[in-house]
Symmetry: C3
Subunit: 466 residues, 3 copies
């Protein structure tokens, strides 16, 4: 089975519409990549060393891939996942190739196909038969010139790459990259405080104590806690951060008065909070984060609705981010209201709402972002960052909110090599969607040409203040 | 950028399917407009005076449009919204034209395009550059012959137009129109009692007192209150009303015994109701409304699931209906059961269920309306009255409930000039949907021809007892 | 209006994609039918007698059809529904034919069309005019050679047909079929214990008492109750059962300790359980069923989210399964967690999740089944077993979970004659979906050929351990 990339892939099948889509795509195919939210490790770029091996690079760290192999019966240990590293890379790679059919029709399968062809000139679909040959071909390429992280960064035409970082991270990798005259890309940190603001997080107390110690303040003092967070945000901004990211289970916001918040904070530090009080405190911290964003200008991204570490057995053996985070229902209209009542009409506040529950697209996100100047519609996230899901998303939000309330594409990936595949996919899908509107007589062709450029390039710059 | 209407707009892109759609559309394109639910002010037709100016006519009163401009940073004051009237119409119009790209892909953009071309022969897409010219062209037209409301009513081929009215409205506009031999259209009032039945409504007590005063009864007497409502329904029916409309947040129905209801009513009038008691009382009033509909024959339309006036700052400055009503999740199956247990099998009862939460289409509305003879499926409402959303709707309900459990198209608009654009869109989309079924071999062409006519014309007449 | 089956029905309208779909379909069109879950009465096959009349065969027992006629105003009595049997079959058939247009665009209409053409060579769409002729034609056929149930079973190429049975059923029909050398099909029972495990079921106590009597144990003893259920599962397995089916309203699972469960069980048998306690007990029984499946290997199918017998008036007049079961919202992520924590990583455990709430497809089912090896994605169920709904389903789950986490097609029907129509529809729709992925350059053609065969044939065999 030969492996080829159809030059018209992801475009509408109708001939005439496909031609419109192709023309739109060609206008943006070569534009630089702006990646304002993701999970690439900045150390990879700072060290700029050759990638270790094909399994480590393409498989073991990508929980989209290991999860499907796991569901099919593979042991996570044999795939080199998480803490259980030390698997034989070649054996892990064979498992993957033997199971290539599992990825047919998935976003991961598509991105892998794109990488295998464009980076490694693979000519056959992975299989048990060719697994070793493919492994060797990729391994050889990883050691060859032109394949160091920074070389790829440039080849990929990445202009901005944001990472996601712990509030107490010293951001030395970012500083080193910024001060290195030989590296011209922008690698920006992102402030991600969840583990410091959610009392249900098992590391909450330890984290808050480390935060207090770092700030030289008393660990049980609410005001000092708030100030320490504000201080770390300033530090992040000094290192180039443009946004703060909030991965809450429920996007509740609570406008709590300070003395009440201080009381809950004290209880949280003593471990005496009820589940409902923890929920309220978390909600008040999301509110506080909005207040801080109004003041310091950090864009606020909210990624709610995920039950993290659903399988506690897998968590304890392999750690988090190993494929068992599962979405739950999400609602914004009532949850965000306290925050929006206070800050929703602030024009320099930018809040980007993401969702893994598609029901909120047309029901809540588009109507909210179609009124409040502070709200933007996040690109399809996580399980929804795939061709059909993206078209459902565009279809659900555009008719209410148009094209100018969106965040632009967010790759949100920890798989560095997949970044071009993901952005290329997004550009093709947007071209396809816009082309259909042209073919259905809903927008003019000149308008379509304006839209595809703005959606790809101007919109993420504007929303993320780049 | 020239502005043109594609004669095949909104039809499927596939050539052969498009031909089928066009043939179906041609069978219904010229049929009269039946508009059994909407928000046009009947005074406009009674007075029959020239429309004031382009901004007032097309922009300031249309919260679909002002909300997107507001989200993009425009002040509602500068757009002449609500209580803040007095903006310079020409300046407001310039803001709109400069931001025309914001409406690309939206339903509002489509309707505006349709109006600009068919009513004002606009030849260019609105822009900063042509804003003044376009303003002048429209303004000139507004003063020219053939553009008075009643002339347009006739030109639009409107046969029936229902308005939405306060229970204490004297309906003098309707009476005047009905008794005017020079006006042949039917303009029907609709009984909308929410502000008299929901204790959470800030005007509830005041309204109930006015109702009692009007009826000459004691304001705290439940029985008198119920009779006064029944009496007003009779008054509406005498003035041509065929339906009563219920805009509840949650479609709860409660079969409460009279003494319990009387107790809650008394508390409500004293302002001593808990939130849960208010919810129950509202639910019992929706139940009562069904009981009255069984008795007096008014069609019952239920429009649930909207958080009204989400931004209290905007409400206090500009009033309600200014773009910040936001949907919330809705469920019918359990909420409607008490009402359906009592009245669901009544064959002369017609209840039309609308939704802004798409999840209920296939899950609840179609299954319910596919069994209970009293239930009909409302056309896609509000944010969902747009091309892709309409196709999602048809796709979600038809396979369970077919074409004969639907209400027919409802424009639900306060924008008089957009009525033909909306009905034309609906007819095109229905033609497109039915054409696809033909192309996929799911229905025959003669059946398709029957369906498009019935859906456009017979079905709304039957459901709304016209 | 002539009745014809388009040989390309249900394929994509685009010419080239249609050709791909047709080629894929041809690879699987003639494969044997595997029906691992359904509601055909095994007595029909054991007795192997001629079907009584057209109305009884195609209309009266099919609540998909009678419900739509009922919604349109027909009396269930006149259609011969349920306990109210005794209607004139010819008169019932006339009602159906006169209302044929009600079924345009529905799945039922499509299946009926398929049956009328392929089994009865009908040449016209049913109508008031031809109702009697059609009745006579079908009636004649029912008495003619080749139309006995077992002859049809063979003609339909059914390899496996599972029924759904009461735990105390003696399975004598299955035994008779299995031991009859002249019948080569596999007709398997399915263990369906809901009415024995849900204290809210009106027959719960009576059933549990019968179960205890059958086992010769004390009716109030929890341990004996559990053992009696285990025993009946063994009995079913001895008679060929491969799965147990669970039709819960909410898929809650509770890991309850035995003494607590025993306490609730005792209360349940005394009728003293609160609603919340009943919910917990039901949830613990679903958990117990998973434990038993781990031990005895029965595949576990979960069919949640239906409000059964919504119209109590209809229930009391006509019995259950008469068209008024209505879906409600469903969530799995939190509800299933206790069960998955304990058994989710068991590799020989197969749990198939069905839904009538489409929102869980992309949000919960695909992410869960894309990680847990024990979980499979059930085919679109009930109201969602229809062309557009199937495409929405494939679109929603495939990008996350691929093609190998699905159950394969499940017809779930009590309408024996519709089985080929349903499986043919499923094969066409899968071919259409896969063809689109090829046309969009997302998978190769050889991969598509592998997928269509695996999805149709290997996957149901594997998931149901056939």
């Amino acid at each position: 089975m030969s492996l080829e990339l159809d030059p018209d892939r992801l475009f509408p099948v109708d001939r005439q519409t496909r031609t419109v889509a192709r023309n739109l795509y060609e206008r943006v195919a070569e534009l630089p990549i702006i990646s304002p939210h993701g999970h690439v490790d900045p150390e990879v770029l700072r060290r700029d060393e050759a990638f270790p091996d094909p399994a480590d690079l393409l498989l073991s760290r990508d929980h989209y891939i290991t999860r499907l192999l796991h569901a099919a019966g593979a042991e996570l240990t044999s795939l080199g996942v998480g803490r259980a590293a030390g698997a034989d890379p070649r054996a892990a790679w064979r498992i993957f190739c033997t199971n290539w059919h599992l990825f047919a029709g998935t976003a991961s399968g598509y991105w892998l196909m794109h990488q295998l062809v464009t980076l490694f000139e693979a000519e056959e679909e992975p299989s048990a038969e060719n697994a070793d040959r493919l492994f060797d071909r990729i391994a050889a390429r990883l050691g060859a010139p032109g394949f160091l992280p920074r070389e790829l960064f440039e080849r990929f035409r990445i202009e901005v790459l944001a990472t996601t970082d712990d509030p107490l991270d010293d951001l030395s990798s970012h500083a080193a990259l910024a001060s290195d005259p030989s590296f011209r890309g922008r690698v920006l940190p992102t402030f991600r405080p969840d583990a410091y603001t959610d009392p249900e997080n098992p590391l909450f107390r330890e984290n808050v104590e480390r935060l207090a110690a770092h700030a030289g303040s008393a660990p049980g003092n609410y005001r000092a806690y708030i100030e320490a967070l504000e201080d770390r945000r300033r530090y992040f901004i000094q290192h180039g951060a443009v946004s703060a990211d909030h991965g809450v289970r429920e996007p509740l916001t609570v406008d709590l008065d300070d003395s009440e918040a201080a009381k809950l904070f004290k209880l949280a530090m003593q471990g005496g909070l009820s589940a409902e009080e923890a929920r309220v405190f978390s909600g008040s911290m999301l509110f506080q984060m909005a207040r801080m964003s109004v003041s310091d200008g950090l864009v606020m991204t909210i990624h709610p609705g995920v039950y993290r570490n659903h399988s506690s057995g897998t968590l304890s053996r392999f750690g988090s981010d190993t494929g068992h985070d599962i979405p739950v229902g999400t609602t914004f209209t009532e949850n965000l209201r306290p925050m929006l009542e206070k800050f929703g009409l602030e024009k320099d506040l930018h809040i980007v709402l993401f969702a893994v529950d598609e029901t909120v697209y047309s029901r809540e996100i588009a109507p909210l972002a179609g009124f409040y100047p502070s709200l933007y519609i996040g690109a399809p996230w996580w399980f929804l960052d795939a061709p059909d899901a993206v078209q459902r998303f565009r279809s659900a939000v555009t008719e209410t909110a148009g094209f100018y309330r969106g965040s632009g594409f967010i790759d949100d990936t920890r798989a560095f090599l997949s970044i071009p595949a993901r952005h290329d996919m997004a550009r093709r899908l947007d071209s396809a969607f816009i082309a259909r509107l042209v073919a259905e007589g809903r927008i003019s062709r000149p308008m379509a040409e304006r839209l595809i450029t703005d959606v790809t390039d101007s919109q993420p710059r504007k929303v993320f203040k780049l």
